[in-house]
Symmetry: C2
């Protein structure tokens, strides 16, 4: 891996160097390193860099480039070179690239492919978005069970060159149905005259091409395999997916969850690359919804306007009390959303969750209640800021905090579960969303407790 | 992969079945599937299940069990079996298991290992926590550059059995220094009489054993390798780490970030498994800090008590205004924290960030300001709720919203950057933390705007 400093230095040299120097420089870099340098510098003439790369390295580098640079680069190529590049990049990377294109551009590029490649590309694009089929590559090696290990290795040496990975070897029957998935290590460690059937245990994990990519992430986590076979619903082997594509999916999913949890729609593009206009759009939606929801606090406060004007002191603690509910709710929601994403908490265990959160809320609420009371006690000891009824105010704040924090934790923990039960995304119950819900109710709790405790004295 | 229903059914049968039935059942399951079933059911007598497993499968299953079940299981074994189990599980899984043990138990288990395995275990445990050394396994295969491909394959067939992965073959010089890292596919695709040196490009990515595990995650993302070599600072090959361990690290890191972002310390254990007492402890810390911070709002409100008692209507909009600042700040903070975790935003680009957030804040604040004004306008059209000066109040709310939202986005985006600059974890600037910061300042902005607009009329 290269450091940031090295990267800048190399980028600098790629910008200023002549062809000869560039050739020397890129010879010493791995394709992913070179791509990283190109991705992070605006000034590199990547057309020039690509001209000096040997064809295979150029393809690998292309696969690692950012989408916008890929497009710009392709557009600078003559048609034959576009066609060659698109044909040579692996099927899964090509699908990922095609997904980003507008319909027009997609058709333009598809028309440049060979007939066979176009067929493959079209097939992969027919799977639903976010399905495993889109991540799949049809380039794999399969052997037959009656072959010997030696025969299989010879076959792989001859026909394996196009396979995306040789870490797993697939065994299919004569009709192409998958019957086993064997790590290459078994082949490497076996005597050459053993039969493939001797290595087989007929136990394998296969993914279904139409399933959601999320299930692929789970399968990879469980099996520790570096590639998994993909079949159709009948068990016909269609292709494979490899761990690196799944790592990307995992990262994207976590990013979406985190962004939703922060109260914004998922950006789907890197922060500094998404257009300002688009980003504001993604943020405005939720911000406005939350704002409109929060307007209910103004109505709730208006409802208690008489009480406030009689005892202005009550207004002083409004932000403190409602924010405590929001904070405890946000904690609970985060823990539950993440635990559900990791499969640690399932819907059936809601009762365990509610029991834990009830107790947590009670303890945490009591803790904050005591601190709140002590604060009012301490201030009133030295000043007259809270008037002669300070102790009653202290009770009001203390008991309200217990109620609000308990309400916050229960809502925060149950809302994600309810959303999931309804088939919605639990991550929608973001910190700001929970805070807004709890703010309104928090006011009702606070003023009810105040009414109960202060009636006859302040109210 | 097995579905939840199947899992429950199988668990049920493992609980009620006799030895013969259990033997039949487990024969049809992969180790990871079996481990998953045992992990998720409390009633299985796993001692019984383990007695019927063949030794190799028992070890693989053990590696996939949860820590508490591993412990319970080991404690049920006679010493020889403990020693055998600990010796046979792979070095990296063993280190992970040992890390969780108390010093006493660790010593007890270490004493049961063979001398050589104990040496390895001790060595791996000497690397700092969260360092790559802890994830490493010293079981790998290396070949010499003057060997032929055929010789190398013979060597691997003989000595490769203990290697954690055979997906990459390492080339070392006579002293053990790493000189290349070659995918096994190159060996499989080459003629048997070619020299290893023909396959070499002497370009490889090696990790340093003392480096943080985070750098391993980055390297795996960039290189698309399934295993990476680990060297000491001089370049001596010490071991390898494999992608499955790195996927776990990646998931743990994202979990920590998400939990911190929700305003709680990282739990470090699954939600339903961590003790209630410990969980409350992890939540109480931040909740109390935020509460104490939020107490400043009570002071700020007290400072404006005169204004509030003159114009109680001002109090009505307090929750609405401060929460809008918190929400917009939370959005900005999430986007920046995640972008920094993914390397999309670096410290040097803070100026690009602040420019984007300034504009976003301006647009979003204006949007909310207009909605806020319209709401006051609409209500005042039909009722007299906001009194004769409703239009001035509308201006106050509208302009305050612009100020508060802008302040929120700037604080939310800059705080993670500043924290990182200071060497702290950016994820500490959680949604609740930002909200608390912005609440206090939001009140100051609101009442200052109110003073400016309403002086002479309401105030």
């Amino acid at each position: 891996m290269i450091s940031v400093d090295e990267k800048e230095l190399l980028a600098e040299r790629l910008v200023t160097g002549n062809l000869h120097k560039i050739r020397m420089l890129v010879a010493g870099l791995e394709p992913d390193e070179l791509a990283e340098i190109i991705n992070s510098s605006k000034d590199i003439d990547f057309g020039k860099v690509f001209r000096v790369l040997e064809p295979e390295k150029a393809i690998s580098t292309f696969e690692h480039l950012d989408f916008d640079i890929q497009i710009e680069l392709l557009d600078s190529f003559p048609p034959e070179q576009i066609s060659e590049t698109l044909t040579k990049i692996s099927a899964d990377d090509r699908t990922a690239f095609f997904e980003e294109l507008s319909e027009d551009t997609l058709q333009k590029y598809l028309s440049l492919l060979t007939d066979e490649e176009r067929k493959t590309a079209n097939q992969l694009l027919q799977y639903p978005e976010d399905s495993i089929g889109r991540l799949m590559t049809p380039d794999f090696v399969s052997v037959k069970e009656d072959w010997t290990v030696g025969q299989s290795l010879d076959y792989i040496r001859k026909f394996g060159r196009d396979s995306e990975t040789l870490n797993n070897i697939y065994v299919t029957d004569t009709q192409g149905f998958l019957i086993d998935d064997i790590r290459v290590r078994e082949f490497l460690l076996s005597a050459l005259d053993r039969r493939v059937s001797d290595l087989m245990d007929r136990q394998f994990v296969a993914l279904s091409a139409k399933d959601d990519q999320e299930s692929a992430v789970k399968a990879f986590k469980q099996t520790d395999r570096v590639a998994l076979p993909v079949t159709d619903f009948k068990g016909l082997l269609l292709g494979i997916i490899t761990f690196d594509d799944v790592m990307d999916v995992m990262e994207e999913e976590d990013t979406e969850d985190i962004q939703k949890f922060g109260g914004t729609e998922a950006l789907d593009e890197p922060y500094l690359k998404v257009s300002l206009f688009k980003m504001i759009g993604k943020r405005a939606g939720w911000l406005v919804i939350l704002f409109i929801g929060e307007m209910l606090t103004a109505s709730a406060m208006a409802f208690f306007e008489d009480e406030i004007s009689k005892a202005v002191v009550l207004a002083l603690f409004v932000p403190l009390i409602i924010s405590s509910g929001g904070n405890s709710g946000s904690q609970a929601a985060t823990l539950i959303i993440r635990a559900m994403a990791l499969g640690e908490v399932t819907l059936e265990r809601w009762w365990d969750v509610i029991r834990r959160e009830f107790l947590s809320g009670l303890v945490l609420g009591t803790l904050l209640g005591i601190i709140g009371f002590l604060r009012i006690f301490a201030w009133s000891f030295f000043t007259n800021i809270y008037g002669p009824h300070w102790m009653l105010i202290g009770y009001t704040v203390g008991f309200s905090l217990i109620g609000v924090v308990m309400f916050g934790t229960i809502v925060g923990s149950m809302l994600p579960i309810i959303l999931k039960r309804l088939g919605a995304d639990p991550a929608v119950s973001s910190a700001p969303f929970i805070a807004t819900l709890v703010d309104v109710t928090g006011l009702l709790i606070y003023f009810s407790v105040a009414y109960f405790i202060l009636e006859g004295s302040l109210l």
